[in-house]
């Protein structure tokens, strides 16, 4: 095959032409901001004026307890919500996979719907439902499950629980669909062989399903981690800008507040963004090493 033929040259050029607009967009909206952020990060900004502070922004970050608290919340949500959600999604996927084929389609839709709802709309709705005198508390009080209303939104512990529940509600279906697809690709002969050998369903799950689904789990884990590091909408709207107090403040929300609400300090916000990206990268790397090494 002569790769230097005119046809291949034409394909090559045509290929580049098609990719060109995307490359232009990428350079404009991804590369340029990243490069110009290098300029922002060494300066302390106040609206339109700025002063050079070198690594001063990073030094300030080391002292900023609120930022550290925000990062702590990000980690809290990561380590509680992601395992919970992945486990739930796995179980649901396994159940649906073995269930009645007719119902599978409709249940899949039901579980998947939450993730396509508008972030803002569902946050507002949840906020109304979870007020001290809102629907959830009223139902639980009438059913005598609780004696006094739970402060879903005005107690830091419960507010964090609310965020975890909201995130799980939203993303379980999304991950479940991926796991379902992964399950389809597992050869049923393996299960049959396990049955013959006398393995229980639980054993099959832990010894066959989980290891074979590892690539999909890795994908879910990595995307969920980076998503949780950027968590913004739920703390902003559902719990009123990181409330109560700073009980659900997250890194992205704090960065936004520094840049747009409180100070117009874009330099500090950029510096914090660098740290968030760094942490996301480290987590992704660790996860890939732990979960993804086998296929290499």
């Amino acid at each position: 095959m002569n790769k230097r033929g005119s046809y291949y040259r034409y394909l090559n050029r045509f290929g580049w032409l098609c990719v060109a607009p995307a490359m232009v967009f990428y350079s404009l909206f991804m590369l340029y901001p990243i490069l110009s952020s290098l300029y922002y990060v060494t300066r302390k900004w106040k609206g339109m004026s700025n002063t050079f502070v070198g690594l001063g922004n990073f030094a300030r970050m080391a002292q900023d307890k609120i930022f550290q608290l925000a990062l702590g919340h990000n980690f809290l949500f990561m380590f509680t919500q992601i395992p919970l959600m992945i486990f739930l999604a796995l179980i649901l996927a396994v159940i649906l996979n073995q269930g009645i084929k007719r119902l599978r389609g409709s249940f899949r839709v039901i579980f998947f719907l939450p993730c396509v709802t508008s972030l803002v709309a569902y946050s507002v709705l949840f906020r109304i439902l979870l007020q001290s005198n809102g629907l959830l508390n009223n139902i639980m009080m009438n059913a005598h499950l609780i004696a006094s209303p739970i402060g879903w939104l005005n107690d830091p512990f419960w507010a964090q629980t609310t965020i975890i529940l909201a995130l799980t509600w939203r993303w379980t279906g999304y991950n479940m669909v991926f796991f379902l697809v992964g399950l389809q690709s597992i050869d049923s002969e393996i299960y049959e062989a396990a049955e013959v050998d006398g393995a229980s369903k639980v054993r099959q799950f832990f010894r066959i399903t989980l290891p074979l689904l590892l690539p999909v789990i890795l994908f879910s884990a990595v995307t969920s981690t980076s998503g949780t590091m950027q968590l913004f909408d739920e703390p902003n709207i559902l719990t009123n800008q990181g409330g109560p107090g700073n009980g659900t403040m997250t890194a992205a929300l704090y960065i936004y507040r520094q840049a747009f609400v409180l100070n117009s300090d874009f330099g500090y916000a950029t510096a914090m963004s660098y740290i968030v990206v760094l942490i996301s990268g480290v987590f992704a790397f660790v996860q890939m090493k732990l979960l993804g090494g086998r296929d290499k």
């Binding site: 106040k46 609206g47 339109m48 307890k65 005005n154 109560p244 700073n246 507040r257």
Partner: protein, 429 residues
């Protein structure tokens, strides 16, 4: 051939997505504000006045319910793109913007607005050196709003409270009585908001900052205010809500028997016609034991600003000057109308001759002449110093007070220390 066709189609689609360059609409003025019942309504009335003389001008009022300052910051950073011609700013936020974006706003004094006709305390925050930047809008004169029908249901006579200069200890007694007989908490309190404490502190004329702009929270007024709020909460007199909308539904739907707020809440109150004849307002209670305490305070108030990036600056200026800063009969009639309809008490001094300023308002209990009262209380309000860090201070104190109400923080001193720490870290000072 096919590939070329597909490529051409893609290019056309792409070109169609790129927003067309529209010529700046020569006769259009865009205004951004929040609260369509109050600010939106007032601006609409002003537009109607202007359109009588200039029917070819379109004045578009856009409602921005959440975080208008964030949007404006983004626009100012972008050198003005995406910004409207006129926007509404709360008085305590504008100093930060004037400091951060000195070129972003139009100097209205230089454009010929006569500021001697506006209340001095409103002109203060919008002045930088020799330039004055805004058109003052409403006053934030406060009062304690009470549901007369619920007080009656508690076996008390609402008329005995009307117009009385009460102390907070009197309010505590009232709250306990109402709670005992009707089970309802007297005052709705928004835990995500700092208004309540701010109103109490500012009723004494105490500032949150020293003259040099540094933070000063350890004042007798703030300590007394926090202590009073804790006391009210411990006795069950406060109805705690999370968020502005929840707070509004708490008093509009009758879950609580009152609220402490400025007169600009009238628009929200009147949006519920079924509550007509039930609301009364009494003077802001006195914070006992603090020097300079009065039965009057201020909360908020906003003003209109013109952006320097606006392509229709001259038109916007002409609009503002002929309506908000004008003494023509049409303009004065408009000030009179917005006062009654939504409680927008302007700070344009000639407008105070309007009949509604002294007339009874039949929406309220026994047709109370609320504006006469608010006008009188407004006279007592001292000048407040906001500074560019007001919002940061706001957030820090509000975050520190909530754990106290929930019993997690033990002493007021701890609250103040926590607030000072958070202020220091968020402001980087």
């Amino acid at each position: 051939m096919k590939k070329g066709l597909v490529f051409a189609l893609a290019l056309i689609l792409f070109a169609a997505l790129v927003p067309g360059l529209s010529a700046a609409d020569a006769k259009k003025v865009t205004v951004w504000c929040w609260d369509p019942n109050f600010n939106g309504y007032s601006m609409k009335q002003a537009a109607a006045v202007y359109n009588k003389a200039h029917p070819d001008v379109t004045i578009e009022i856009v409602d921005i319910p959440e975080n208008i300052e964030g949007k404006i910051t983004a626009g100012l950073q972008a050198g003005g793109s995406g910004l409207p011609d006129i926007a509404l700013f709360q008085d305590f936020r504008i100093e930060q913007f004037l400091q951060d974006y000195p070129q972003g706003f139009v100097d209205l004094k230089a454009a010929g607005v006569d500021y001697s006709k506006f209340a001095a305390y409103k002109v203060g925050p919008m002045t930088v050196g020799k330039s004055i930047y805004g058109i003052p809008f409403d006053t934030g004169s406060t009062g304690l709003w009470l549901r007369a029908d619920m007080i009656k249901a508690a076996g008390l006579n609402p008329d005995s409270y009307m117009g009385k200069n009460l102390k907070w200890s009197d309010i505590v007694k009232l709250g306990l009585a109402v709670k005992a007989k009707t089970g309802k908490a007297l005052i709705a309190y928004d835990t995500t908001n700092y208004d309540f404490i701010r109103i109490m502190v500012q009723s004494t004329g105490t500032q949150f900052f020293n003259k040099d702009g540094s933070l000063n929270l350890r004042t007798p007024a703030l300590k007394a205010a926090i202590a009073q709020v804790k006391d009210l909460n411990d006795k069950g007199i406060l109805y705690l809500t999370e968020g502005w909308n929840n707070w509004i539904s708490a008093f509009n739907n009758g879950d609580s028997a009152g609220l402490l707020q400025a007169l600009w809440i009238i628009g929200t109150l009147k949006s519920k016609p079924e509550n007509a004849g039930k609301w009364m307002v009494i003077p802001t209670p006195l914070l006992e034991g603090v020097a300079g305490a009065q039965n009057a305070s201020n909360n908020g108030g906003s003003s209109w600003y013109v952006f320097a990036s606006s392509p229709n600056k001259a038109l916007a200026l002409d609009f503002l000057k002929s309506t908000w800063a004008s003494s023509t009969p049409a303009a004065l009639a408009f000030y009179n109308d917005i006062l009654k309809q939504c409680g927008a008490m302007g700070t344009y001094l000639p407008s105070r001759t309007g009949t509604n300023y002294t007339a009874p308002d039949e929406y309220f209990y026994k047709s109370q002449a609320v504006f006469k009262d608010f006008s009188a209380w407004m006279e007592k309000v001292p000048v407040l110093m906001y500074t560019a860090n007001y919002q940061t201070m706001n957030t820090a104190v509000k975050n520190a007070v909530l754990p106290l109400l929930q019993g997690k923080t033990k002493s007021i001193d701890d609250v103040l220390t926590a607030a000072e720490t958070e202020y220091k870290q968020t402001s980087g000072q």
